[in-house]
Amino acid sequence: MLLSFFSHLNEAIGSPLVLSTPMAARALEILFAWSASIQIFEYLRMSHAMHGSGLWVWRIQRADIPNAALRQLFDALYAEPVFKVLLWARLLALVSLALQGSGLINVVFLFITHVLVLIRWRGAFNGGSDFMTLVVLTGLLLAQLILNVTEGSLADADLAWRACFWYIAIQSITSYFVSGSVKLLRPEWRKGQALTIFLNAAIHGPLPEKHLLRQTWMATLASWGFILWECAAPLVLLDARWAVLFCLMAALFHFLVFWFFGLNRFFWAWLASFPAIVWCAGQY
């Protein structure tokens, strides 16, 4: 059944399941634009937490900035109306990325403003999803820098996207591999206890009394399933079919992380890295 699925997929995409460079680039740009746009719409709604009685008041946070001149610059930049303009400008740049593709101007702008937004939130707002957003942006920036330095000749365009995809794919696969390996090294994860403890402390409240993941055997089974799957992530580079299957499972995994932990940004941020993984796996 699995073989038949792959043969149908091969026929649909072109044997042997190789994603073309332009197709992978467009998929990556559109998925990234979608992911980062969701983040911006959410930031626009968070004004109440950044001013007045909110937790993230710049008046206090500005002491984090060690340099006086930069502190003054950030004072101006993080004033409510200016910061809002910055977010809307980011949204425009993302629309141009989705509709027209990446160029040096929109990518450099998105890169710099992403870092500025992160500094506003003391370096990271949502942890992992901020990191992965920066990884994809860095990949796009790498491609644009190479393209512009080499004046976009066809051979160099291939090199530019190759650098972009490999950078993103290695970082994305590393994220699964490291996340799985550190759990494998912890006895509380190997025994299944950690999963239940983290789920009980999650943002949506503790698991219901009768929930299956409160059963030790089920929590152990699920933990080992996640650990082994994450540790096996580097193997996806051996075959594009494995990469597609891995990405489908990863999407399900991130959906579960969203459902239990509320981390919606992780789902989209990692999804944006999948075209790079599938492209790299198709190069062998």
């Binding site: 719409f41 959410e42 009685s53 946070q61 003391r122 290695i170 509320g262």
Partner: protein, 173 residues
């Protein structure tokens, strides 16, 4: 050749995960930490910092009448459409991350230094005051505590207080 480099990279990564590397700190490294992701999600189980706060009303005889300690631990409802738009949950998660950073700052603070000078302390204090003012508008004083809770799969098995703030009178602003 590419496969060789890929295998070598992941083996090297494994070595670095097993052996502890020095922890480098600095204000800019903290603000730009997104450039150095460690990808270690939900890995260690142990004591977790939780924020507690209480408000008081000043009685005519000069005493303070305190409320019970409030556990400021965010909880939000689970909705499918939050996959596309989830600002309140993300803010709540950021709040708890902030408490984690506050704990880390306290942990790293030299004995002789006043925690009130920490940016994280000031942010938490400001947040607590606003939160309590909303919940107890008549409150005249507030105080907060950072408690460390150790959970098992079924219950909290141990807790201790890491820090109790001084009692602070309501600011005029």
């Amino acid at each position: 050749m590419t496969s060789f480099w890929a295998i070598a990279y992941f083996l090297l990564l494994l070595v670095f995960l097993i052996y502890k590397t020095p922890h480098i700190q600095g204000p800019w490294l903290f603000l730009l930490r997104s450039f150095f992701p460690n990808w270690k999600f939900f890995h260690a189980v142990g004591y977790v910092p939780h924020l507690y706060a209480r408000a008081a009303i000043s009685l005519p005889e000069g005493l303070l009448q305190w409320t019970d300690w409030q556990h400021l631990y965010p909880r939000t409802p689970q909705r499918l459409w939050h996959l596309f738009y989830n600002p309140e949950t993300n803010l709540a998660l950021a709040q708890q991350n902030m408490v984690d950073h506050f704990w880390a700052d306290l942990n790293d603070l030299p004995e002789s230094k006043d925690p009130r000078l920490l940016v994280s302390y000031q942010m938490i204090s400001h947040f607590v005051e606003a939160h309590l003012l909303e919940k107890f508008p008549d409150g005249t004083h507030h105080q907060f505590e950072l408690r460390m809770l150790l959970d098992s799969p079924t219950e909290t098995v141990h807790s201790h207080v890491m820090m109790t703030s001084p009692v602070v009178a309501k600011s005029c602003s």
